[in-house]
Symmetry: C2
Subunit: 423 residues, 2 copies
C-alpha cells in the first residue's frame, strides 16, 4: 500500500469548520487506498497569541521555555483533527514530535532534525490508523527537551517523515493551487506550474518564494522525496517538485523560465573605501559568518586604480542589519574602511529556470525588461539556472510584472488565493 504524507498549514486548520474540511480530505485519501500520515501546524493565530502571552510575562523568554509554550499549539490542532476524523468513522491517533520520533539537536527555536525514528507512526499505519503528527517540533537527542524547528518547520517535519516512512509523496497543502510563475498575491496573472525540478524550487525558495521553505526543499532533494504542492480548498492537481522532471519517461521540456521570486525582507550594507588588498574580504565575511548572520549576494566594485580602494556591498536579512553593522564596526581597526552604510529599502527579484543553461541572452532580456520599466538595478548576481537583481523596494512589484510579461509567463486566468498563510 502506498504511503502518503500530507501537511496542512495553519490557515487550513484555522477553526472547527476548517478542521472538519481537512478531516474529510484525509479520510478520502485513506479510502482511496493509501496509508496516510498527516502533519499539522498550529491553528491560525495560535502561535501569535502564545507569543503575546510570553511577552506579557517577560521581554526575554528563555528559548527552552518558549519552545515548550509554542509546541502546545500543534498539540491542540492535531488532537482536534484526530477527533474530526473519528467523527467521520475512521481511526486516527495524534502524536507529538517527540512521540513521532523527530529527533533534533538542542538549538531551541531553530533546531535541526538529526534523525527520525517513526516506530509509533509505523505501528499506527500498520493498524490501519491515520497518524496525525505535530509539525514544527521535535525532541533534543542530548537533553530530551522539547525543541522547535523554526521557520518552515512543519514543511520540514512532513518531508522528514516522508523520507523516514519511505512515502511515495509528500503533499504540502497551502492556500494557492501550487507553485506559480510569480507570487499570485502580487501578480494575479501568474501561471501555475505543473512540474518543477528540485534545483529550480531551491533557487525560488532561496530568493524569496514563500511557498516552500528552503530547508524543506533541501531535505526533499537529499532524500529524493517528491513534493506535491496543492490547495486544501480545491481538488485540482497542484505542482509536482521532483528530481529530473525534464528527463526520462513522461518528461516535459524544461522551460527557459520556471518562475520569478521576489523578496522584500533583505537589507544591504555597503562598506565604502575598503583597501584593495589580499585577505580583506576574508576578514570581513569571516567576522560576519562568525556572528551567525546569513548573507546572500555580494558585489565588489572595480578598484579605482589611483586610490587602491574599493566598495563592497552585500545583502543580509533586515532583522540582522543592525547587528551586521556592529560586527563591521568592531573590525574597523583591522579593515580600515572609510564608511559604512545600511540600506533596508531594497527589493530582490530572481528569475529561475533549468532551461536557462542552454539559452544565452536570458540576462540581457531580463535587464532590458527592467530598464524599459524604468527600474534601476543596484546589484546583480547570477548562477547557472538563476539571475537576480536588487532594486528599490517600492519598485519591486513593477519589476516582477515587467519581467513576467517580458518572458511571456502571463496567464489569461486569474490565480486564486484561498485564504491567509500558515506557519
Amino acid at each position: 500500500m502506498s504511503i502518503v504524507v500530507q501537511k496542512y498549514g495553519g490557515s487550513s486548520v484555522s477553526d472547527a469548520e476548517a478542521i472538519k474540511r481537512v478531516a474529510r480530505r484525509i479520510v478520502e485519501t485513506q479510502r482511496a487506498g493509501h496509508s496516510v500520515c498527516v502533519v499539522v501546524s498550529a491553528m491560525g493565530d495560535t502561535t501569535d497569541e502564545l507569543m503575546d502571552l510570553a511577552e506579557q510575562v517577560t521581554p526575554a523568554p528563555p528559548a527552552r521555555e518558549l519552545d515548550m509554550l509554542l509546541t502546545s499549539g500543534e498539540r491542540i490542532s492535531m488532537a482536534l483533527v484526530a477527533m474530526a476524523i473519528a467523527q467521520l468513522g475512521a481511526e486516527a491517533r495524534s502524536f507529538t514530535g517527540s512521540q513521532a520520533g523527530v529527533i533534533t539537536d538542542d538549538a531551541h527555536g531553530a533546531a535541526r532534525i538529526i534523525d527520525v525514528t517513526p516506530g509509533r507512526i509505523q505501528s499506527a499505519l500498520a493498524a490501519g490508523h491515520i497518524a496525525i503528527v505535530a509539525g514544527f517540533q521535535g525532541v533534543s537527542q542530548t537533553t530530551k527537551d522539547i525543541t522547535t524547528l523554526g521557520r518552515g518547520g512543519s514543511d520540514t517535519t512532513a518531508v522528514a517523515l516522508a523520507a523516514a516512512l519511505e512515502a511515495d509523496v509528500c503533499e504540502i497543502y497551502t492556500d494557492v493551487d501550487g507553485v506559480f510563475t510569480a507570487d499570485p498575491r502580487v501578480l494575479p496573472s501568474a501561471r501555475k506550474l505543473d512540474v518543477l525540478s528540485m534545483e529550480e524550487m531551491l533557487d525560488l525558495a532561496a530568493n524569496g518564494s514563500k511557498i516552500l521553505h528552503l530547508r524543506c526543499v533541501e531535505y526533499a532533494r537529499r532524500y529524493g522525496i517528491p513534493i506535491h504542492v496543492r490547495s486544501s480548498w480545491s481538488q485540482r492537481a497542484g505542482t509536482w517538485i521532483k528530481d529530473n522532471p525534464y528527463e526520462g519517461e513522461g518528461a516535459v521540456e524544461a522551460p527557459i523560465i520556471a518562475g520569478i521570486a521576489h523578496d522584500r525582507s533583505e537589507a544591504k550594507i555597503t562598506i565604502v573605501g575598503v583597501p584593495d588588498r589580499v585577505g580583506v574580504a576574508a576578514k570581513i565575511f569571516g567576522a560576519i559568518a562568525e556572528s551567525g548572520i546569513n548573507i546572500d549576494m555580494i558585489v565588489q566594485n572595480v578598484s579605482a586604480a589611483e586610490t587602491a580602494k574599493t566598495d563592497i556591498s552585500f545583502t543580509l536579512p533586515q532583522a540582522d542589519g543592525a547587528r551586521g553593522m556592529q560586527v563591521l564596526q568592531s573590525i574597523r581597526h583591522e579593515v580600515d574602511y572609510a564608511d559604512l552604510r545600511l540600506d533596508d529599502k531594497i527589493g530582490k527579484i530572481a528569475l529561475v529556470g533549468a532551461g536557462m543553461k542552454s539559452h544565452p541572452g536570458v540576462s540581457a532580456k531580463f535587464f532590458g525588461a527592467l530598464a524599459e520599466a524604468g527600474i534601476n538595478i543596484e546589484m546583480i548576481s547570477t548562477s547557472e539556472i538563476r539571475v537576480s537583481a536588487v532594486t528599490r523596494a517600492e519598485q519591486l512589484d513593477d519589476a516582477v510584472r515587467a519581467v513576467h510579461t517580458a518572458f511571456g509567463l502571463d496567464s489569461a486566468d486569474e490565480a486564486i488565493v484561498y485564504g491567509g498563510t500558515g506557519r
Copy 2:
C-alpha cells in the same frame, strides 16, 4: 536541603499578572533555602475553552485525543511560570507529566498514578533549578499515550511528586486561607483550622468539601506527606493536614468538631416495595457497582411486617442519576420491586471531627440543631468521626449555618475568598 512541593491552581495562574505574582512567591521560597518543585494547573478558563473547541468538532471526542488536547493547557501555564521565574533571575525548567515521570494506567480522562519516576526533576533540583511540572497529566505505562488524571488531578500530581521526592511538605495554594469549619463562600463566619488529621480531611472531602479532592488526601495519607493548604494571595499560615496532629510533641487537643462539609451534587434513588429477602441488596448494589457508579449513603427502611416489603434509598452523583435508573430497570425482573423514584433536589451535610469518638451526644445535638431550624432529615449515615444527613437542597445553606452555630464554630472575623476556583 528541604524539598518543598507547591501546587498552584488555575485561579492562581489566570493571567500574566497572576503568573508573575506566583513566580515571586516561588523564588522567595527558593531564596529561603528550599529546593522547590512546583505543580501548576491550566490557566483560568483554558480547559473550558479547549473543551468548547472539541465540542465544535465532534459531540463525542475520543478519550485519547481529548487528553492530548487538554494537556496543552498545563503546558502553556508551566512554560509561562518558568519564564516569569527566569525574569526574576532564578533558573526554572518546566516538565510535562511524562517528562516528570508521572506513570499512569491507560484510563484516559480518569487515569490513576501507578508510579512516579522523577529522575529529571531530581536532576533539575540538584542543579539548583526550580522544577515546574504540569499537573493533571501523566503517561500510560502500557500504551505510552498521554493521559489525564481527572478531577483533583493537579493536587494528586503534587502529592505524588512530594512522595516520590520525599518532600518535607506539599503546599496546596488556593483562593482561601486554608480549610475552614464550613465553606466560607456559604458561611463567611466560618473559622480557619490550624491543623486537621488526615482522617478528618478524608471525611470532609468525601462529603463535599471542595478544598481538596478525596484522591489527593488518600494519596497523602498513604505516603505520610503533610499537606499545607494556604492562599497564594496572602502570607498567612494556612491549615496543616497531617498524621496524628493531636498526639506527640506540639500536639493540640482534638476538637470535637473539625468542620462541616456540604454537597449539592448528589441525587437520591428510592426503590419502593422491594421484597425483604436474602440477597436482594447484593443483587441491586452489585448491578450498580458493575456499571461503575459510585454510591454514597444507603438507607433501608424497616420492613412492613404484613407485606414483607421494604424501601431502599441510596445517593449517587447527579450525573449518574439517569444511568442508575436504567441499571435498576434492567434488573426489575430479578428484584421484583414496585416502583423507582429519582430525586435530584437533595443536599448533604456532614459534621466531621476526630474528637467525636469520645463525646457522645454529638448526633443528638446535630439533629436538634436541624430540627430547631425547621429542616427535615431524609437520610442519616454515621461513622466513628462523622455524622451526615440528607436534606432538601434548598435548605442546605440554612442547615450548615444552624449546625455551625450550634457547635460554637462561628468566628468573629469574616473569611476572605480571594478569587475563583481552579482545577
